[in-house]
């Protein structure tokens, strides 16, 4: 596992590495670019860029069926683009998968357009009875990698898709605000 300075992004990286992730499926958000750059340098990890978030859910379902370990990285507004596939494929078929959604809602947002959906993304997931966890200023940084690793395990144990909202907008703040 990589030895990295203690930051939010690095904590997520360490949690994913501890989970043995082989595939990183993504539609990038600016707040998750450091995570993507890290795995881009790892030959043992395959990066899969998608054009639209619903594709990523389908690809992750296929990887899971093939017995491979994948994770999906998106911006939280991507929830709006994948909701049908998330519900009618991932949740309905009880397919375990972990999605990590970079928050554009919440503290430190500077773009109102990005925030427009980000602000309601957690409520939409809750209204659809879809399980989520959150990493932000309320969770000590020391627990971030643990949460990522156990989020992946939880999805596998429960045989369902799990989404982890992560607020990475202030990379200089150790408390994850």
């Amino acid at each position: 596992m990589s030895e990295l300075p203690r930051t939010q992004s690095n904590s997520i990286i360490q949690g994913l590495e501890a989970s043995g992730i082989e595939f990183v499926v993504y539609l990038p958000d600016s707040t998750i670019q450091h995570i993507l750059s890290h795995f881009n340098e790892r030959p043992e990890v395959t990066l899969i860029p998608v054009a639209r978030e619903e594709e990523g859910i389908g690809i992750l379902a296929g990887l899971e069926a093939a017995g491979r370990k994948g994770v999906f990285l998106i911006q939280d507004s991507g929830v709006g683009n994948f909701l049908n596939t998330y519900i009618t494929l991932a949740a309905l078929y009880q397919i375990p998968m972990l999605t990590i959604a970079g928050r554009r809602g919440g503290f430190h947002e500077i773009n109102r357009a990005n925030a427009a959906f980000g602000e309601v993304a957690p409520s939409i997931m809750e209204a659809a009875n879809l399980r989520t966890f959150t990493l932000d200023y309320t969770v000590p940084l020391a627990k971030w990698s643990y949460t990522v690793e156990h989020g992946y395990q939880y999805a596998q144990f429960m045989q369902k898709p799990i989404l982890l909202f992560v607020n990475l907008k202030d990379q200089n703040n150790e408390q994850g605000i």
């Binding site: 860029p49 379902a61 069926a65 494929l89 397919i95």
Partner: protein
């Protein structure tokens, strides 16, 4: 647009399913929703190979994404190709999968698009495939593409697909005859579980 839309192709969906279920009997197959999923799965059950099939109940268009995920996951672990059986309406809902696949070049992926040029189960509304060359789009996305419209052409293509390195795209022009269908009785979770077990059994 406000008229009954029909075509004059000789192949029916059932003709195509009969060929594919025999020619790709032992390959993993992901099938698009509605009529395709129900009819093909019923045929697979009659042949005793239903565990090799993953029928989509919804998620229109995502059979191709899931097929790409299976192909990438099985790469290097089996010689078998991953087969996606889509319909024109479903495939057009996720056309961007072709551009995604172009970046990844999954050599073990074969996509069949059974193209009757309409949304059949909803009353026969036309799709765009009568106006565009879908195979040209696939070729531009680095697929080896073919269009077939007869049983002989389809049989000829199938015999070469397994031998040739992909990814492959085959557009099959069919008429609007409906295949026999039966509603899927299996639970979705059971369908995924049995398909995952089958993939595990063929992975080295």
């Amino acid at each position: 647009m406000n008229k009954e839309f029909n075509n004059s192709y000789s192949l029916s969906k059932q003709d195509v399913f009969n060929v594919l279920v025999d020619k790709f009997r032992d390959e993993p197959k992901i099938i698009s929703l509605a009529e395709n999923a129900r009819a093909f799965y019923m045929l697979a059950q009659e042949r005793g190979i239903e565990k090799t099939c993953f029928p989509m109940l919804g998620s229109m268009g995502q059979e191709v994404s899931m097929g790409l995920g299976v192909a990438l996951g099985l790469k290097g672990r089996t010689e078998k190709k991953t087969i996606v059986i889509s319909g024109d309406g479903s495939f057009l809902a996720n056309l961007n999968l072709l551009t995604t696949a172009a970046m990844l070049e999954p050599k073990n992926l074969i996509i069949f698009v059974i193209d009757n040029e309409v949304h059949g189960i909803t009353g026969g509304q036309p799709t765009a495939t009568s106006h565009i060359a879908l195979d040209h789009i696939a070729t531009d996305c680095r697929f080896k593409s073919k269009v077939v419209a007869t049983r002989e052409e389809l049989l000829g293509v199938c015999d070469t697909l397994r031998a040739e390195v992909g990814p492959h795209f085959v557009q099959i022009k069919v008429n609007r005859d409906k295949p026999p269908v039966r509603s899927l009785q299996n639970s979705p979770a059971q369908l995924f579980s049995q398909f995952r077990e089958y993939l595990k059994s063929i992975s080295g």
